[in-house]
Symmetry: C2
Subunit: 343 residues, 2 copies
Amino acid sequence: MDRDRPTLRLQDVAEAAGVSIATASRSLSRSTGVSEEVAERVRDVARQMGYIANVHARSLAGGASRSVGLLVHEIGDPYFTEIASGVLHVGAKEGLTVQICHTGRDPQQELEQIRTLIANRVGAIIVAGSGFVDPAHQAAAKADLASYRRFGGRVAVIGRHHLSADAVLPDNRGGGRAVAQHLLDLGHRRIALVSGMRSLTTVADRLAGIEDAVTAAGIPFADLPLVEAPFTRLGGKQAAEEILAAHPDVTAVLALNDDMAIGVLSVLRDRGMAVPERMSVTGFDDVAVAGDLAPSLTTVHLPMVDMGEQALLMALKEPSARPRRRTAECHLVVRDSTAVPPA
Amino acid sequence: MDRDRPTLRLQDVAEAAGVSIATASRSLSRSTGVSEEVAERVRDVARQMGYIANVHARSLAGGASRSVGLLVHEIGDPYFTEIASGVLHVGAKEGLTVQICHTGRDPQQELEQIRTLIANRVGAIIVAGSGFVDPAHQAAAKADLASYRRFGGRVAVIGRHHLSADAVLPDNRGGGRAVAQHLLDLGHRRIALVSGMRSLTTVADRLAGIEDAVTAAGIPFADLPLVEAPFTRLGGKQAAEEILAAHPDVTAVLALNDDMAIGVLSVLRDRGMAVPERMSVTGFDDVAVAGDLAPSLTTVHLPMVDMGEQALLMALKEPSARPRRRTAECHLVVRDSTAVPPA
DNA sequence: ACAGTAACCGAAAGCGCTTACGAAAGCGCT
DNA sequence: AGCGCTTTCGTAAGCGCTTTCGGTTACTGT
């Protein structure tokens, strides 16, 4: 975009077609108030000249913007990849461009990216990766988003319920219950938990579900070895090392997401511990590769693509005064990484 | 963005700070021509009011836009995911917003998305997934991009050299040569090729490299069983079925991308054919999961994140009259899916 | 033939910003 | 004091579009 090298303007098209700018504009947008023949001619001329309207001018003058924003920690993370895929699908179908922003798990950057999206006057902001832990950033973001909403912007959050916005939430508690129950049913009693940071509501909810199940089975939740580590593959590795060292008697490792489970699997493979014969391992999320691992991973399926789609659709629908919640069902997917504990 | 619910304007800030709009503008952008005290005051007021400038108005008036576009087939495809990651990283660092568009492998949609990006007057367009097969679409895209460039837009293509634009290209031929050589070195002679559509230059180049190697080893390239299928996991499965049925003597399957290789592996697992003991399998790309599969996949590593970064950086640098090329080095990564052929 | 109506189109006013340009004020110098 | 220079700031002219408003025209019914 250079000022000095001008692009084709609507005026150029209008002149070439022998009509006024107003008529040209009407012909190219909602062609009402223009005779069909004129509109047709203008469109022909525009096409021949290769005219492409300027979105900036259009939204300045017109109002509504044709784009939405998506906030993720890191697009390479499979969890966010799938959400982005859902959002992009809906976006393409609705003729919206999607601006994706990396927060890099940095609250400061997250705040900046939110501001950037607001500056772009996007029609909706989907917050998929939200890492606000400290009240200061959270409050700032909330304030920005509030004023954004005041002038008509829509906000939807995926995976957390905060920022007083519409939210799409996986049934983390139900999923946690299901996967724990699965291990209990197989006969496991010494189950180690490989957890992300408990300050994340996602983690807290999943743990709550696990607690439901084990408590019902008569096992005190506090008895289960639990290691908190970053929600990443490396975190899973570290946690696995720690658990194997401190608790040689565990027969199953329940990881709170697939990434960590993959880390656990790699440690077990390095140590020559057979999965699932010696040790059962479960994940959470059911990322695309979970079924391709060997052994394929027993995990809780989250409909992430769906969640992305739902979030955008929810945001685009008529706004409601109070934040809406939509729960995404999770279900257990039993694959090859779990079995009865060794005798 | 609603017209009737107005957002804070620069004028509001100016009034609150007791200065003119011009001064307010200067204070908030490149603060030249304003005394530091005034600029400071304006910035304070703006911050307190929660003012966020309107990008549309800004780029209409000013010229340069702070955003770039990225075209991919499907963000969920790991190849594109990593490229997108690279582009987003550079974008975040440079303060650019990135608009990602899905083409869904549909030439028509690809064309539309290019137009959308031009309409958004993005500063650069990175074409990662380009599926132009028919001359008509290709010509149309070329025309649009040409006029886009004429007014200062930058274009960079990843993985193909066409559209007369800057390009970042993996050394597909070298990679093909390397992986074929690896199998030859292990002693394989009956090597089946699981190929994407040969009309793709990527495929053609990789095949050329393979031909180089096998020809040098004294094997007529045409003797190798070759199945063309979609460049997807499913395509890999289909191709594998076909090959196993028609060529039971094959000892190695060389797939032209990892996705197809994963499909091949799953077919082999279903049939109980041990990899690599009974059959060696190789991929191409080295997507993130390649190392996590079991057996982990021997493949050709492409620096995809790098390529995304390079493409954007190249586009942002001063343009050159003639299209530049940058070659991304590939290298073979030997893992557990290849071994000497069965005796 | 004429008022009344509907359909079509053009002139012009903005949308919120940047940036010439010019005015005013402060400075050192003769 | 008067001159030119620099610094600082305000006025106003757009950027390319949409949309209101009013003017023309063509068409109807009487």
